[in-house]
Symmetry: C2
Subunit: 312 residues, 2 copies
């Protein structure tokens, strides 16, 4: 049976340099193409934390050190990261398809995701981006650029940006048309370029949309059967690292809510993954969300491993 | 009558900073949307000279000055520039469409263009990119990185890369599907990311494909009716700036060849535009190529101005 599957890949799985990324995308391509080879329609979403941080930092370094290049706003850095990551991912998937004598087109769509300008995240920026600064440098950035700066785990001060919720995917009709035309689509890179509406205009905002929530959103819009959120572990655990540690094969929405109440899942790590899965699984009867590792994606779809989150 | 039109926009028309670009794309959007409003299918190609140069320079500045960011190969910088420019262009066009109560999706496709690894351009790099260096710095780059460096008009030494001919557009099926689905497609940004084939693999090469030739190639592939190459002047001139200066309304392939023999067109400026138009116009009976300014694009299609290059 052919399923429509949105796969969300972490930005950390893509490395810190172009050379690392070029190698790592090859590993990513194999299980993705396994799914395609078995008849599934695959839409690939990905994070961009290390990559957009690197681009933003390089632009900032060059602009502030007399490099003769302009300052680059954060949404534009996000757009660059989509081109940079998409280029490598689309090539790796294309090559793996050709190796198996398949010829689906692979396409990266520069994708914007709509957020609400009144999202409460804008009054409480929490997502650290870019480099570390001293207290003095941080104070200067607050004064001169209006940045929000916080002390980050004793390592220095960092800029924090809001992490608003995705409301809509601006390029959804494009993605739909490409999925229908048998393309493997790479979209909502880095959670999408965050934009707010001002009349007919879209305005980029310095923010980072969680890629798990953006993936759940595009999965809903595309009426996908599965959302697979890839992570470093094969299954979700409760009582992680403790004596009574338990790896879960299935979680209902009710169970997930209970575990969240017990603070079983780490914020910024497993928690947003579980929450994004709950959103997708709750959005329509029959929709299944799966959390597992890259190499277990297909076994997970076959019900052999991973943690399935479903509405009962 | 509905025509399929590939419009090629110069990178210099997009400015040097994100703020400039954001303003300039608004001017670009209006004549593009005029064409769409009158029922034409529009595919937009664009240059990226100043933009990829800026990105490449910033990455280089940061990497070589201890900025903690990696060196970024030129093809990856090209991919970034497609995201950066596409994001602004797609938004400006979307807004202008909505202002006129039209809702065509607008999509930027990260696009690779195939070149021949045996293209003679690779033995004769001519396209200057990035920043200026002293003789000593240039010698060091030649030794350490194997770059080709040339003295550029008394302003210092610059890296030069090859400018090979486009053979094919890798993402052509994606572009076709989107045009059929009524999308306004932005593609072959900066002439496309130049790649060569190694078995099933595509390998990015440090090169710049002329955006006019890449535009002619995608226009051929899409079986477009028109290729419009936008430039700073309304028409092509012969004896430009001289007493017997003559603005041309039409040029046959034979006339164009004659003028090229007379060195009427400046290399790196009007010459590649005329040559790209000749290629497209020669490729099939009825195909028309037009060189004109942005604000005259529609009048040009209506036969009122611009220089039409056709096969007689």
């Amino acid at each position: 049976m052919k399923d429509k599957i949105v796969v969300a890949l972490g930005g950390n799985a893509l490395g810190k340099t172009p050379e690392e990324q070029l190698e790592l995308v090859k590993n990513t391509a194999k299980p993705i193409v396994d799914l395609i080879q078995h008849g599934h329609e695959v839409i690939l979403a990905h994070g961009n934390g290390p990559q957009v941080g690197m681009i933003n930092l390089a632009m900032e370094n060059s602009a502030t050190n007399g490099g003769g290049t302009p300052e680059m706003p954060f949404p534009e850095c996000g757009a660059m990261s989509q081109g940079y990551i998409g280029y490598h991912l689309q090539n790796a998937i294309r090559e793996e398809l050709l190796n198996r004598e398949m010829s689906n087109p692979v396409a990266t769509v520069v994708t914007q995701v709509l957020v609400d300008k009144d999202d409460e995240a804008f009054t409480n920026p929490t997502k650290p981006i870019g480099s570390f600064y001293t207290k003095e440098e941080a104070d200067k950035l607050i004064e001169e650029k209006g940045f929000d700066m916080v002390e980050d785990s004793g390592r220095g001060y960092r800029r924090v940006v809001p992490s608003p919720r995705p409301i809509d995917v601006i390029e959804k009709e494009t993605v739909k048309a490409l999925v229908e035309a048998n393309n493997v689509v790479i979209t909502v890179g880095g959670g999408g370029i965050p934009v707010i509406k001002e009349g007919n205009s879209l305005v980029g905002v310095p923010a980072v949309i969680d890629k798990d929530f953006a993936s759940a959103k595009i999965a809903e819009i595309l009426d996908a059967d599965y959302l697979i959120i890839l992570t470093a572990v094969e299954k979700v655990a409760i009582n992680f690292g403790k004596e009574n540690e338990e790896w879960l094969s299935e979680m209902s929405i009710e169970e997930a809510n209970k575990y969240i109440g017990e603070k079983q899942f780490a914020p910024g790590s497993m928690l947003p993954k579980v929450k994004a899965c709950m959103e997708f699984a709750s959005s329509k009867k029959g929709r299944k969300a799966l959390i597992t590792s890259l190499d277990k994606a297909e076994a997970g779809i076959e019900g052999k491993t991973g943690t399935i989150i479903i509405k009962k």
